[in-house]
Amino acid sequence: MEPLETFIVESTVPEEGDAYKSIVADVITELMLGGAIGRIKVRVRPEESLFLMAIILRGSQPKVKVSDMGSVDVTNHLTKEVTISIEQEKYLPELLEQLWAKYGRAGIRQPERKTLILTVEELDEEVEFLRNLVVADPQKTLQSRLVEMAIRATPEGFRVRYHSMDKHVFVFAATEDILKKEWIQEAQDIATELQEDE
């Protein structure tokens, strides 16, 4: 699936749909979601105060563990010193935050940018734990970014919202009245329709 291979915004008045497409495109660019979205379809019916959106995401990204971004080694058995050598700096801030929370700021030494040294009690156990520590979950941040995008793209007053995320299908509906079941179903149908294009 190409990024944004389908990008449709429908409205009761076609020109207004085009104008709204520019808003959605701006929001996608701003949240850097262009690469993550494969197909997107938005349906706006202002006279019913209704906003529907369905998104098919391109392949999912795996969770990032410490072992994916660097190596964890015992550098001094006597003082029980463990060194983490970072190769990918991208998630370093998240890693540091987690380590600080567990070992305290004073417990982590960072003699230079890509090296972290810490002293632990149980060597083997801790090394194993550190290697498998989940630093970042792109899927999770992607979901929160998608929700953020949906909220930004929705007309401001439509505060009654529904969203669901099933693997790579994101469905969103918003209105200012009580959400009808058939509207959510309509949004699900749009998603199914988008999937059938494959």
Binding site: E16, A19, S22, I23, D26, S49, E148, P155, E176
Partner: protein, 312 residues
């Protein structure tokens, strides 16, 4: 008969710009606002019509630019149903920017509960605040259905001229109940307006606003004000020196029929009421002075000559 004053904006280097302000004072014009920015300065002023060429010549010598700014001396409310941070930048911001380029002072007003269709509301306080301005520009978004059927309720209770800006081009003013004018091409967008089509829409809006203001000035000229707002401003500068300690970019904001003095009401309203004029009258004889709904400022609305019986 006082000289007819013409509104102009001068943009040039800060070096020797005081020559301009001195000349302006000698000619009997008024400096409304001075905005220094690093090595540049922007002067908003009212120049006697017959002497504009003198300022123009001096400006040329100083390598500056003098342009007519028809909205000078007006305070415009730019009203948006919402100014939510997650929708920034708002197109209303660009609207306000263009009004300022025309010489006007603008205030952005985001309604607390203006968003939505059925749920959209305006508060009594907000309506009174909008009514303190000369005119209001409302930004109503992209959808024709909302602009025609749902949003006009926000115009109710607003007594100043109301100009509505929206996305669709094909809506007529009569279709927007309560609006004095509808201008299309300015809907909701999530970026700054900078494409040629968007900019020409803003130019068009500015043009229309200028027309409305000119009409209001004409109406005002039929029964003129007892005293010109810039004259009051000059007296405030001379008699209440504390005004120079105010950090606001326009400590005294001119309106077509009054002014907003950005000093605390409780402390200063008596001094504003007692402003003396050479003719031997006080400001309270010619104007109503009230507490503004904006912060704690003082709002001066000048009475008409017919009401007061004299003019200064």
């Amino acid at each position: 008969m006082a000289a007819v004053l013409e509104p102009y904006i001068y943009e040039g280097g800060i070096h020797q710009h005081t020559l301009i302000t001195e000349l302006l004072e000698d000619l009997g014009g008024y400096l409304i606002q001075k905005v220094p920015a690093a090595t540049e300065v922007t002067l908003v002023m009212l120049i006697p019509r017959d002497d504009v060429h003198l300022i123009e010549e001096l400006g040329k010598k100083l390598l500056g630019k003098l342009e007519r700014a028809p909205l000078t001396g007006t305070e415009i409310a730019v009203v948006s149903p919402t100014l939510a941070s997650h929708h920034l930048p708002h197109s209303a911001c660009d609207v306000a920017e263009f009004m300022r380029r025309g010489g006007g002072n603008t205030n952005m007003i985001g309604l607390a509960r203006g968003m939505g269709r059925r749920v959209s509301l305006s508060d009594n306080y907000e309506r009174k605040l909008i009514n303190e301005h000369d005119l209001a520009v409302f930004s109503f978004g992209t959808f024709a259905d909302c602009i025609k059927n749902k949003k006009p309720k926000l115009l109710e209770g607003v007594t100043v001229p109301k100009i509505v800006a929206g996305g669709p081009h094909d809506i007529k003013t009569e279709e927007v109940v309560g609006a004095d004018l509808y201008v299309g091409g300015i809907g909701r967008v999530a970026h700054r307006l900078r494409k040629p089509g968007e900019l020409s829409s803003l130019d068009n809006l500015l043009e229309k606003v200028v027309e409305v203001v000119e009409k209001m000035r004409e109406d005002l000229a039929k029964d003129p004000l007892a005293v010109l707002p810039p004259r009051v401003m000059k007296e405030i500068h001379e008699q209440i020196p504390e005004i120079f300690d105010v950090f606001s970019p326009a400590p005294v904001t001119l309106q077509l029929d009054g002014l907003r003095v950005k000093l605390p009401y409780d402390e200063f309203h008596e001094r504003v009421e007692n402003l003396e004029f050479d003719e031997g009258v006080r400001l309270s004889d010619m104007a109503t002075i009230t507490k503004s709904r904006m912060k704690n400022y003082i709002l001066v609305k000048i009475k008409r000559e017919s009401e007061v019986g004299f003019s200064t």
